[in-house]
């Protein structure tokens, strides 16, 4: 161990160790190698382990690695995560004599564009039916995606050259990182990983409800804890109005949806689109042209789609679009009915 007094004496004497330049260069190279190795080990054993359990995007890729040829998967944003209860869908299906496993793979702020890079992984797992839950924001011309998602999945997905133009430069660069770039990129998760390690292993505290969102459970719906008052619901519904404007032109989100639907159908995977239920406070502000463009575009995909936008009153929501327990139970039964109908037609 470094002795303080010895160092102090060295410091006072100011007589550097006798060493040749060559040996110092060897020391430097050796130090860099050791530091790099320690960094690699930290990333491999601490960060990667943490990411697998704390990031839903990685858990979803793990999910795709298993065959799911008899299963039904549901994709979409937090409206889907919150609005569809897999257990309830399975139960309703069983009542109709259909025994299927249903997995809700929804993710917060998900859009067709953010899911597109994982398309080949999804296809490889060969699900029986893919249900895509959509809202107006999903087809609006916006590319503000949580970019770390792309960085995290980059080593396990394949970005088709045709899709590259859908993304901005940063997003495309993140998606096509080399292994070395990825190793360097992962340093931004060291803080979180160490924090989780201390919390879970040393302090032995349970993760908060919000963090549970990222866990690996695709059955239980994620529950928002805040139930807003009517007044707050109205206020929330007025936020970010520009994000819901859908024009007639093609945009990356629409192209991503079309590409997803086409690739799934080419691989004989049934696709169903659902226009997700919305609180009327939110729905009322959607202008006519946006609504017409949304419907027209869903028709153009060529797959059956079901409109639940105005199906439920405000009492079924906790805010502008996330459903509460009553809403979720009822809506999940309706989703089960759609699946049963599809299965019947398929049979």
């Amino acid at each position: 161990m470094l002795k303080w007094n010895k160092c102090q004496r060295y410091h006072q004497a100011m007589e550097p160790d006798k060493a040749s330049i060559f040996s110092l260069i060897v020391f430097i190279i050796f130090s860099v190698s050791i530091a790099l190795s320690a960094y690699f080990l930290l990333i491999h054993f601490v960060v990667d382990t943490d990411l697998r359990t704390s990031h839903r995007e990685i858990a979803i890729l793990d999910f795709y690695q298993q065959p799911h040829d008899q299963d039904i998967v549901i994709l979409g944003s937090s409206y889907v995560t919150e609005g569809i209860d897999s257990y309830q869908v399975e139960k309703s299906l069983r009542e109709k004599g259909i025994n299927r496993s249903v997995y809700n793979l929804g993710m917060q702020a998900e859009t067709p564009l953010s899911r597109l890079p994982e398309l080949e992984n999804l296809i490889a797992s060969r699900p029986r039916i893919v249900i895509i839950g959509l809202g107006y924001r999903d087809l609006a011309n916006r590319t503000d995606i949580y970019e770390d998602r792309f960085g995290l999945i980059s080593q396990r997905v394949y970005l088709d050259e045709n899709y590259r133009s859908f993304y901005n430069e940063t997003q495309a660069d993140l998606l096509t990182q080399s292994p070395v770039e990825h190793l360097w990129y992962e340093r931004k998760f060291i803080g979180g990983a160490v924090f989780h390690l201390v919390r879970d292993r040393i302090l032995r505290e349970k993760m908060s409800g919000r963090e549970a969102l990222f866990d690996t459970n695709f059955k239980d719906p994620w529950l928002l804890t805040t139930n807003l008052t009517e007044e707050m619901k109205v206020k929330k519904a007025q936020e970010d109005e520009s994000q819901d404007q859908i024009d007639a032109d093609l945009n990356p989100q629409k192209m991503a949806l079309l590409s997803t639907v086409n690739r799934l159908r080419q691989n004989n995977i049934s696709v169903i689109i659902i226009s997700m239920p919305m609180n009327s406070y939110y729905s009322d502000r959607i202008n006519t042209s946006s609504r017409q463009n949304f419907s027209r575009y869903l028709n153009e995909t060529g797959v059956p789609w079901y409109d639940f936008e105005r199906e439920y009153p405000s009492a079924y929501f906790i805010d502008e679009g996330h459903m509460n327990s009553a809403g979720r139970t009822d809506f999940s039964s309706k989703v089960a009915a759609i699946i049963a109908d599809s299965e019947k037609k398929g049979a």
Binding site: H11, D17, I21, L36, A38
Partner: protein
């Protein structure tokens, strides 16, 4: 080519190999001049011609002043040289600011011919990186020859190396000919001691810049980009983070520059000496950006009369010097205000210490631990207040921040800060565990109480804070030095944020 780029490392290693392959000082210095111009060209492109212009003008002016027959001639030559040297700096750095002031000043007159002729266009000028630093080095050379404190350099290539030496070219320190040129008498040889010191300094500088400064930046930026949405706690946190950021950014750069210079074997002067331990504003300027403040002292404050012409004139000279110091930092009102504020601080300190110096000396408690800590705390309170003026360009935002910093709103709820800065190490820590802030503040208070009450602890802490750690680590045995390197490189790898920022002082 920046200090943090792979290109710079390749460049530095190539230069080191080349100059060590050559034995003669002449060839080594020629290589260094060529390398320095290549370095500047890679960052500033055709502005390399400006560097050459400044070098030629100041070199020729030095020769001419030295050989001038009489004092009047010397003065005329000096004035001409200073004008020629300051024109590029004035044009690139202050033209737009001057036009803005002129248009605002003439607008109320509403006199058509005046307004018409003074209606100069605002130009989209790019500021050549490092222009303030190399221009000031050239000015110091010319004035020192005029004052006959140095002799003109006989060889142009040596003088060109003094002005363009790549470690100090972009952000200082401002080098004086008297410090640098004598080193060129001998040839350069890479020594183990230089290698060890150079690498130690560079690694230390990188950690300061990339781990500390770049992790503080997102917090300070998040707060000062929309300061009016923050309470007193938010503004104080932002100010502290910016104070740490600017110190570690600039002194980190200087450490890298000093390290690179050490490797080459041509040393540069130190620019920082623990400024945040200063006990008064005057001492702060003897510890912060030392080469700039000594330039201002020697070439502005003392020629104005210094403290030799009475009390009022001393305050006036301090104020003028500090206003120019503020203006040197940037062509904007906030820098002028910042400079003026520091002038006032120093004048007030001179006034108070002149009046009450003997009174405080009679109070024993203020001359020991508590007094020392109180002095440091009060000084740093005002220094950090100054950082608000430095950081916030918009005057109404600046006033808001100052009012929140000085007149506390006593809204200390952490949640009301509401910052989201996941990309920052400190930000993430604060965000994940707000209790950290409370723990840190409590630890500081307990630590201070212990310090005040315990002589031995105070001695140890003082020893720790006043140790020159880079010198210390470069003098430890090689095995320990390797441990230092491994730790520092590992910290760099782990905590360098993904969104790095340029060195702040590049813009000056």
């Amino acid at each position: 080519m920046e200090f943090n780029s792979i290109e710079f490392f390749i460049f530095l290693i190539s230069v080191l190999i080349l100059i060590n392959c050559l034995r003669k000082a002449y060839y080594q210095q020629m290589i260094l001049v060529a390398a320095s111009y290549l370095f500047y060209w890679s960052t500033s492109n055709y502005f390399v011609l400006l560097l050459l212009f400044i070098t030629v003008i100041s070199y020729q002016a030095g020769e001419a002043i030295h050989s001038a027959a009489d004092l009047v001639r010397k003065k005329v030559l000096l004035a001409a040289a200073l004008i020629l040297l300051l024109i590029p700096l004035g044009f690139f750095k202050y033209y737009n600011f001057g036009v803005e002031i002129l248009s605002q000043a003439t607008l109320p007159l509403n006199y058509y011919p005046l307004n018409y002729y003074l209606n100069l266009p605002i130009l989209g000028l790019l500021l050549p990186i490092g222009i303030s630093f190399f221009t000031f080095s050239a000015i110091s050379y010319v004035i020192d020859i005029y004052r006959e404190t140095i002799q003109p350099e006989e060889k142009f290539y040596r003088y060109a190396l003094f002005i363009s030496y790549f470690p100090h070219l972009l952000s200082g320190p401002i080098v004086r000919a008297g410090q640098f040129l004598p080193q060129l008498k001998n040839s350069i040889r890479l020594s183990p001691a230089n290698l060890k010191t150079g690498v130690t300094l560079m690694v230390w500088g990188f950690v300061k810049k990339f781990v500390v400064a770049d992790n503080c930046a997102p917090v300070a930026n998040a707060i000062f980009s929309h300061p009016t949405s923050f309470n007193s706690l938010g503004i104080i946190i932002g100010t502290i983070f910016f104070g740490i950021q600017i110190y570690c950014d600039f002194s980190g750069y200087i450490d890298i520059a000093l390290g690179a210079a050490e490797l080459v074997g041509l040393h540069l002067p130190q620019n920082f000496f623990r400024p945040y331990l200063s006990k008064n504003p005057t001492e702060f300027w003897r510890r912060w950006n030392i080469t700039l403040s000594s330039f201002i002292r020697d070439y502005i404050y003392i020629p104005l009369g210094g403290n030799r012409k009475g009390t009022l004139r001393t305050y006036f000279n301090v104020e003028i010097s500090m206003l120019l110091c503020g203006l040197w930092h940037g062509a904007a009102w906030n820098f002028v205000i910042w400079g003026g504020y520091h002038g006032v601080l120093q004048s007030v300190h001179k006034y108070i210490s002149g009046r009450t110096g003997s009174f405080f000396k009679k109070l024993p408690s203020l001359n020991i631990h508590l007094g020392l800590l109180v002095k440091i705390f009060i000084t740093q309170y005002f220094i950090f207040l100054g950082w608000i003026m430095f950081r916030v360009g918009n005057l109404s935002d600046m006033m808001y921040c100052i009012s929140k910093y000085v007149l506390l709103d006593f809204n200390f709820s952490y949640q009301s800060i509401g910052i989201k800065f996941y990309d920052s190490l400190f930000g993430a820590a604060l965000n994940l565990a707000p209790e950290i802030l409370l723990v840190l503040v409590s630890a500081c208070i307990i630590g201070l109480i212990l310090l005040v009450r315990n002589d031995v602890l105070m001695k140890k802490v003082t020893g720790f804070l006043t140790t020159d750690w880079t010198r210390f680590f470069s003098s430890v045995p090689n095995t320990y030095w390797m441990l230092y390197l491994i730790t520092m490189i590992f910290i760099l790898l782990c905590f360098t944020p993904s969104a790095g920022s340029e060195f702040i002082y590049y813009q000056f």
